[in-house]
C-alpha cells in the first residue's frame, strides 16, 4: 500500500478513455539560440534521426475480445472472457438498476444495498464473509452507480469454487439484519460528512442537482443524504433488492483463467436457483426543467486556496444519435492531457493542475461536465477562459488535425482497456450497464472512424450553449463576488455543500463580509 506519488499529469476519474487532440503544436515558441549547435548541452551529438519523429512500424492489428455468451437455466446471461496468462480471475455481477431506481424521496437506497451485500446473509455473518473472501486472497467490492449496481470479486483462479460460494451468497441473499444495518448506517453517515467537506465532491453534487433538477434521482449524491440515510429501513433495502436484483435484470461477467466447461456447472449450482421476476416500473429520468434566468451558483468556502469550477449540461445517452461525434467534440475540448481546456488553463495560463471535460454516458442521458480546480484569485479569469473554449468549439468546430488525433488516440489506446482481468471485467460490465452487445468494441472503432469534422461541428453547436450551461463555483465568495458578477453571466445564487439553496437574507450577509 504505497502512497501515490506526485504525478505530473492528472487524469480525472470521470474520464473513461484517454486520448488526444487540440490546437496545433505551439510552433510559436522561439527556438533557443543554440538550437542549431551540433552537440547538445549534455555533449550528445545531434543527428538527423533526432530531428524528425520516428514513423510507426508495421500496423498493429487489435481485435478486442468478444465474450462467449451463455445462459443459465433461470435465464441469467453469462459473458465469459478467457485470459490464461495469469492465474487470476474476476467475476462481476452487473445489475441494471442503480440510483435511477432509488424510490422517490429515498436517495441512496441502491448504494446502501450495495454496502450491505457483504455484511451478512442467512448463512454467514459479516465476519465470516470477510474471512471467506480474504482467506482466498479475494477482493470483493460492490457499488451502486447512476443506473447500475456492480458487485465484483477478483481472486486467484484456483479458488474459484470457494469464492463463488461466498460471492453468490452475498449478492443473492443479503439479510439486512438490524445490527449490521445500524453499523453500516453510521459508517455511511460518516462518509457523507466527509464528502460534504471535499470541494471536488461538492462541485459534482451541486452541478448534478442544478442540471437534473430538484427531486430527480440523479440530483443527489450516490450515497444519498443525511436525512435519507437516517430514515433508511431494512425493509426498504430488502424490497429494492427483491425488486431489481433479478437474473432477468443482470449479467454475470467472468474474466480470466477459467474454463467454460467447468465454470458453467459451478455457476448453475450457485445461481441457477435465483428466480426471475417482473420488474417494477422505472422512474422518469427526464431532467426537471430549470426556471428563470441562468445564475452562477456559488458554494462559499471562505479562505479556500482554490476554487472548483464545474460547468455542465444534460449530456449523452447510449442511444443518442450524436453519441460519437459529441464525444469526439468533448475529447478535443477536454478529453486528454492535450486538450483545448488543459492547453489554455494549465499549460498556457498556469491557473490549474488540470482542466477536463467529459460526457458521462448512461442508458438515459447523463451529465456533461467541464471541470477545473483553479487558483482562487484567478477564478473569474479561469471561468471566462473555460467558457470561451466551449464557445470557440461551438462556433468554430475542430480542425482536421484535431479530428485525426482524437480519433487515433481513442482507437489506438483501446487495447489498454483489456490489460488486466479487473479492467477487462470493468469494460464489459460497462457494456452490460449500457445495454450494449458483447461485440460492441468492434463497432465502436468503426463508428469513431466514421465521425467527420462536420459531425463534430453539428454536435458542438447542438450541445454546448454557454448562455444556458449550468455554472457552479466552489470557492471563497467574499473575494470573488464582485468579479464574478462583473462577468455578466447571471446573478449569484448561493447554495450549501449539498446543493440546498441558501436564503437571500443569509446570502446578503455572507456577501458583505
Amino acid at each position: 500500500m504505497e502512497r501515490l506519488a506526485r504525478l505530473a499529469l492528472l487524469a480525472p476519474a470521470i474520464l473513461v478513455a484517454c486520448a488526444t487532440s487540440s490546437t496545433p503544436a505551439p510552433a510559436t515558441a522561439p527556438a533557443p539560440a543554440h538550437a542549431t549547435a551540433p552537440v547538445s548541452e549534455t555533449g550528445t551529438p545531434d543527428a538527423p534521426f533526432r530531428q524528425t519523429l520516428p514513423e510507426p512500424g508495421q500496423p498493429v492489428t487489435f481485435q478486442a475480445p468478444v465474450p462467449a455468451v451463455r445462459t443459465l437455466k433461470n435465464g441469467l446471461t453469462v459473458w465469459i472472457v478467457e485470459q490464461h496468462e495469469l492465474p487470476l480471475a474476476t467475476v462481476e455481477l452487473v445489475v441494471r438498476a442503480g440510483e435511477d431506481t432509488d424510490p422517490a424521496g429515498k436517495p441512496g437506497t441502491a448504494s446502501f444495498v450495495a454496502d450491505m451485500l457483504d455484511e451478512g446473509t442467512s448463512l454467514r455473518d459479516a465476519t465470516a464473509i470477510a474471512a471467506a473472501f480474504e482467506d482466498q486472497a479475494a477482493l470483493f467490492r460492490a457499488k451502486a452507480d447512476k443506473d447500475s449496481l456492480i458487485a465484483a470479486v477478483s481472486f486467484p483462479s484456483a479458488s474459484l469454487a470457494p469464492v463463488l460460494d461466498v460471492f453468490s451468497d452475498s449478492v443473492l441473499r443479503p439479510a439486512f439484519k438490524k445490527p449490521d444495518l445500524e453499523r453500516v448506517r453510521a459508517l455511511r453517515l460518516g462518509d457523507i460528512a466527509q464528502l460534504e467537506a471535499d470541494p471536488a465532491q461538492i462541485g459534482r453534487t451541486v452541478l448534478n442537482r442544478t442540471v437534473f433538477g430538484e427531486g430527480h434521482p440523479w440530483a443527489f449524491p450516490t450515497t444519498g443524504t443525511v436525512a435519507s440515510t437516517k430514515a433508511a429501513r431494512g425493509k426498504q433495502l430488502a424490497a429494492w433488492h427483491r425488486s431489481w436484483v433479478r437474473p432477468n435484470n443482470a449479467v454475470l461477467v467472468v474474466v480470466g483463467d477459467v474454463n467454460p466447461s467447468t465454470l458453467l456447472p459451478e455457476l448453475e449450482r450457485r445461481f441457477g436457483g435465483w428466480k426471475p421476476a417482473a420488474l417494477p416500473k422505472r422512474r422518469s429520468l427526464a431532467p426537471v426543467a430549470r426556471k428563470g434566468p441562468r445564475v452562477v451558483t456559488v458554494v462559499d468556502r471562505p479562505g479556500a486556496a482554490q476554487s472548483q469550477l464545474w460547468v455542465g449540461e444534460l449530456g449523452l445517452g447510449a442511444g443518442s444519435a450524436d453519441l460519437y461525434s459529441a464525444q469526439v467534440a468533448s475529447q478535443v475540448l477536454g478529453g486528454g492531457f492535450k486538450s483545448r481546456l488543459n492547453a489554455n488553463l494549465r499549460s498556457g495560463k498556469g491557473y490549474t493542475y488540470g482542466a477536463f471535460s467529459a460526457f458521462d454516458v448512461r442508458r438515459e442521458p447523463g451529465l456533461f461536465a467541464a471541470i477545473a480546480p483553479v487558483v482562487a484569485d484567478k477564478t473569474p479569469e479561469a471561468l471566462r477562459e473555460l467558457l470561451g473554449e466551449i464557445e470557440r468549439l461551438r462556433e468554430g468546430g475542430i480542425d482536421a488535425a484535431e479530428l485525426a488525433d482524437a480519433k487515433s488516440g481513442l482507437i489506438q489506446s483501446l487495447p489498454a482497456e483489456f490489460g488486466s482481468t479487473t479492467s477487462t471485467a470493468l469494460a464489459f460490465g460497462k457494456l452490460v450497464a449500457l445495454g450494449r452487445p458483447p461485440d460492441y468494441f468492434a463497432s465502436y472503432v468503426q463508428k469513431l472512424e466514421a465521425v467527420s469534422r462536420e459531425d463534430v461541428a453539428r454536435a458542438a453547436r447542438a450541445r454546448f450553449d454557454t448562455r444556458t450551461l449550468a455554472i457552479v463555483v466552489v470557492g471563497p465568495l467574499a473575494e470573488l463576488r464582485p468579479r464574478l458578477e462583473a462577468l455578466g453571466l447571471g446573478g449569484i445564487a448561493l447554495r450549501d455543500a449539498t446543493g440546498e439553496a441558501i436564503k437571500a437574507a443569509r446570502a446578503v450577509k455572507s456577501g458583505s463580509n
Binding site: 538550437a35 492465474p87 484456483a158 492531457f337
Partner: protein, 444 residues
C-alpha cells in the same frame, strides 16, 4: 503463457518473470521483459533522484523538475502539450510521471509499433532537455505545481497532516523532512540555474534505468536503445546523499485543527528501508493489522467497537527508512483517545504474541495476490515494469522480483512478533491527531 509463469496458492515452483538486463557503456541500465498478451509496449524510465536530493531551500524541486521534463526539448521546443500530444495521438495509455523520495519515474504505453517514438522522446529529454528550456516554461510549471499543491494539500481534507507527520518522523536536516510537493516559498524561489544544475547532476544515463515491457522484438529493441541512448555521453553517477536516519527515540505527539468533518488519528513509525530483507516481515505485519476487513485494526475499531469510520496503513517504501502511517478516521460521537487506546492494545498484542499460522498464511496469500495484481499491469505506478525498476534500484537485480513470493512465504510468526515489537514500539511512534476546526472533536 509467455513471460510470466505462475501458480498462486499451491505453487510448487515460484513465479517467474523472464527478463534480460544489460548496461550501455554510458552506464544506462536496460531491462527487457516480453509480454505479448496485448499488442502494446511500455517504456518505464527511472532516474535515481527524488526529494532526498534537493538542496536546502529548494523543497519540491525534484518534482517541479519532473514537470519540466514534459516541457519540450531541442527538437520539439513546444511546451508539455506537444510531448503529451504526440504520445496521446499515437494511442498512449499509462502516460505519466511521478516523483518520490528517492526516485522519479517516467512512463508511457503505446501500440507495439510505436516503441521507437517512446525511445525517441525519452532520449530527447535525457540528452536535449536544456537546449529547449526557457524561463517561461519554468514559470508556467511553477504555477501548475503550486496549483497541484493547493489541490492535494491545502484544499484536500487531512492534506496538511500528511505532511506534518513526515516532518515529525524525519526532522531536519533529514532530506525526507517535509513533503515531496515542497513549500510554496521554495517553489517560488527556484531558478533556471537550479534547473540546469539539477539536470546536469542527476539526469545522467548512469543514474537511470530503462525498462521496456510488452510486445516487442528484443533484437530490434536493443538496436533502438543503442541508436537513441548510446550516443549520450557518460557523466558521473551522482554520489548518494549522506543521510543519517535517527530513530524516533521518544513518542512525539501533536494535535492540529483543519477544515475536516471528522477527527483522524495518525500513528507514524519509521519502517524498514524499501525492499530490504527486514521489510518483508513488516509487510506481513501491515497486512495482519490492516489488510481488508479481517485486519485486526479494522475488526477491532470498525466492526467490534464501532469507534472508527475507516482504517488503513500506508507505507512509503524509501531508501533511508520508510514512513509508515496508521490512519484511523474517528466516527462522529467518539474521541481520538478512545481510538488510540484500541490501536495501542492491538499493537501491543501483536508485539507480544505471534500470529496463528492461519492468520499468517492469510496475510502471505494476500501479499502474494497483490504482487500478481501488480505484475498483471504492464506499466504505470506499481506495475510490472515499475516493479522491475524498483528491484533494480533497491536490490541491484530486477530478477529479484522472482524471489518475492519466497521471501513472503519465509516470514515466520516469531519474526512478525519481533518486527511489530521493534518497529511499532510506543516510544518509536509519532502520534498526530487532526480535529475539525470550530469543533472540539468529532462529537456533534
Amino acid at each position: 503463457m509467455t513471460a510470466l509463469l505462475a501458480s498462486l496458492l499451491l505453487a510448487a515452483a515460484p513465479p517467474l518473470v523472464q527478463l534480460e538486463t544489460y548496461t550501455l557503456p554510458n552506464g544506462l541500465t536496460v531491462i527487457l521483459t516480453q509480454d505479448r498478451r496485448l499488442p502494446t509496449v511500455g517504456v518505464n524510465l527511472w532516474y535515481h533522484v527524488g526529494g532526498a536530493n534537493e538542496m536546502p531551500g529548494r523543497s519540491g524541486f525534484a518534482h517541479l523538475f519532473e514537470h519540466l521534463m514534459f516541457q519540450g526539448s531541442k527538437h520539439r521546443p513546444g511546451n508539455e502539450q506537444d510531448f503529451a500530444g504526440l504520445l496521446e495521438a499515437a494511442g498512449s495509455s499509462d502516460l505519466n510521471a511521478s516523483t518520490w523520495n528517492d526516485r522519479t519515474n517516467y512512463f508511457e504505453t503505446l501500440p507495439a509499433n510505436r516503441l521507437e517514438l517512446a525511445l525517441w522522446l525519452e532520449s530527447e529529454r535525457m540528452a536535449f532537455l536544456l537546449d529547449g528550456l526557457d524561463k517561461t516554461k519554468l514559470d508556467t510549471q511553477r504555477d501548475v505545481v503550486r496549483n497541484e499543491r493547493r489541490q492535494s494539500v491545502e484544499n484536500t481534507p487531512y492534506g496538511k497532516a500528511e505532511i506534518r507527520l513526515v516532518e515529525l518522523l524525519f526532522p531536519k536536516p533529514h532530506p525526507y523532512f517535509g513533503a515531496v510537493i515542497g513549500s510554496h516559498e521554495d517553489l517560488q524561489a527556484a531558478t533556471l540555474e537550479d534547473v540546469k544544475s539539477f539536470f546536469r547532476t542527476f539526469y545522467a544515463p548512469a543514474n537511470a534505468t530503462l525498462v521496456i515491457a510488452g510486445d516487442f522484438d528484443p533484437a530490434k529493441a536493443r538496436a533502438l536503445v543503442e541508436k537513441y541512448f548510446g550516443p549520450i555521453p557518460r557523466a558521473p553517477k551522482p554520489p548518494a546523499p549522506a543521510v543519517r536516519t535517527l530513530p524516533v527515540a521518544r513518542q512525539i505527539r501533536e494535535t492540529l485543527t483543519d477544515d475536516v468533518q471528522l477527527s483522524r488519528l495518525f500513528v507514524g513509525v519509521i519502517a524498514p528501508p524499501a525492499w530490504s530483507d527486514e521489510g518483508f516481515a513488516y509487510d506481513v505485519v501491515q497486512e495482519i493489522l490492516a489488510g481488508g476487513k479481517t485486519g485486526r485494526l479494522y475488526r477491532a475499531l470498525v466492526f467490534d467497537r464501532e469507534l472508527a469510520q475507516d482504517v488503513d496503513i500506508a507505507t512509503d517504501k524509501s531508501t533511508f527508512g520508510s514512513a509508515s502511517e496508521i490512519r484511523v478516521t474517528v466516527k462522529p460521537g467518539h474521541l481520538p483517545a478512545e481510538v488510540e487506546a484500541v490501536v495501542d492494545a492491538e499493537l501491543d498484542r501483536l508485539a507480544s504474541t505471534p500470529p496463528s499460522d492461519a492468520e499468517l498464511r492469510r496475510a502471505q496469500r494476500n501479499l502474494e495476490a497483490r504482487l500478481y495484481r501488480g505484475l498483471e499491469r504492464l506499466n504505470g505506478n506499481g506495475s510490472r515494469a515499475d516493479l522491475l525498476n524498483a528491484m533494480q534500484m533497491w536490490r541491484g537485480d530486477p530478477g529479484f522480483v522472482n524471489q518475492l513470493v519466497a521471501r513472503y512465504r519465509a516470514v515466520t510468526p516469531a519474526q512478525v512478533r519481533e518486527t511489530a515489537r521493534r518497529v511499532l514500539a510506543r516510544d518509536a511512534r509519532v502520534v498526530l491527531i487532526v480535529n475539525p476546526a470550530a469543533r472540539t472533536a468529532s462529537a456533534q
